[in-house]
Amino acid sequence: MDFDIKKIRSDFPILSHTVYGKPLIYFDNAATTQKPECVINIISEFYKNYNSNVHRGVHLLSAKCTEANENARKTIQKFINANSSKEIIFTHGTTDSINLIATSFGDKFINKDDEIIVSELEHHSNIVPWQLLCERKQAKIKVLPFNEKGELIVDKLKNLISKKTKLITLNQVSNSLGTINPIKKIIEIAHSNNIPVMIDGAQAIQHQKVDVKKLDCDFYVFSGHKIYAPTGTGVLYGKEKWLEQMPPYQGGGDMIDVVTFKKTTYNELPFKFEAGTPNYIGNIALGKALDYVSSIGISNIAKHEKELLEYGTQKLSEIENLIIYGNAKNKTSVISFLINGIHPYDTGMVLDKLGVAVRTGNHCTQPVMDHYKIPGTVRASFAFYNTIEEIDVLYEGLLKVVKMFN
């Protein structure tokens, strides 16, 4: 398939908008992505035509929504090549997924003095749940560090692993630096030590083909809103053997089999982990978003984003005193940078007025900022609907910033 950027951009209604009278240039894709019209439309369509609570309904609309919700589960299963749709749990986002695992897997398998290895590159959402767990269980977190380029020092893993290591958890792609971590290798090392691995795929799934069977990861989680789907949706993939052993996380409707005040038994997978009315309209739209991504082709997406990354990196490097944080060999289309002496907030405020939306701050990765001893960065993160010309506008804007503040 040909990659027709004009056609693609026209799929996203927001991209033709202006801010302050200037064309919107949306470079905050790592925070959240924009939605194609087909995703926006399916939400309206379902509310206008079929909306009804799922599961156990005898009437037609309920059956329609249930079926669409379960079809979305199958779409996700295929998208990540899971063995069974039982292994796909609908959650409300990456953070929700990780908390589920930390609580449920944690309560079952983590005990006093046990150790969990977390990478230094993690988002707070993959740090704090483990800290809360470790506090409850008096377990310990060990940190796998990264080098100056922003690459994990995998050689150190062997020294961190001990008999007490019960889980390794890390992201496939760092949200603040863009580093693509060698998770296949890490999973192999972990498994050769009988240690399960959880992968935070929040910044990976939208940029490259993910095959959980090939990766052989034990858990894989991601957010819908970062892969062109609505807010309030998310996925937890877990190997059946783990999910079967894990106790329920939340209690409520749909996750139970029999309830009496004396004794309650739980439903089978995946429902055991889905308490309460699910965000079924969101889930259905998530399925649609993945279909959309598949229709563009994830390798086409990766190819275009690689061009954006290369062009952007080269262009921004031309600016004097601009330092790019994160120079890993394997990177997604994220450029985190600082212009010497200029506060990220000042840069961001000026770019905003020029129509360029970037994120500034620590990007929920304080340990990464602490590593570089900086308070934050300016982060431009590209999606496949961005263009070379937009990067030129960013470049011109940064020249303006330099002139204003130096």
Partner: protein
């Protein structure tokens, strides 16, 4: 009569009804023909608990053929159970394993076999095939 023939018979029987009301009424009639499971066989292992209705199913293996008996607390479910048993009972394990149950779709009752209705019927068919596999291994 093969499983295929029996399905064909049912399809023809239903052809005269084009209204769902008549179909349901006929199903209610058919529910009375169900070989009812013995009281003593209504045990926990023979219960298939759909969220909406319950199905009890038992299977006996004699002279190379399986015969089923069953019951359900809901009549529409019971009528469909009766149809399924009429089609599959008195067949060899291999015939049951190979059976492609297209008649439900043809007579316009497909929605009753949707996992979304959660009436125990899908689990029941699975259970019938499992019995067949189990008995075959004993042959």
């Amino acid at each position: 009569m093969t499983i295929k023939d029996r399905q064909q018979d049912i399809v023809e029987e239903f052809e005269i009804y084009d209204d769902w009301m008549d179909k349901y009424s006929y199903l209610i009639e058919l529910s009375k023909d169900l070989p009812i499971i013995n009281e003593k066989d209504r045990k926990e292992e023979n219960l298939i608990n759909g969220c909406q209705s319950k199905v009890w199913l038992d299977a006996k293996f004699t002279d190379g053929k399986i015969s089923f008996s069953a019951d359900s607390d809901a009549i529409i479910t019971k009528g469909i159970v009766a149809l399924l048993i009429r089609v599959l009972s008195e067949s060899t394990p291999q015939e049951i394993i190979d059976a492609d149950l297209h008649f439900i779709d043809k007579i316009g009752l497909k929605e009753n076999l949707s996992p979304t209705r959660s009436n125990g019927l899908l689990s029941m068919i699975k259970q019938m095939k499992l019995y067949a596999i189990a008995f075959k291994s004993k042959e």
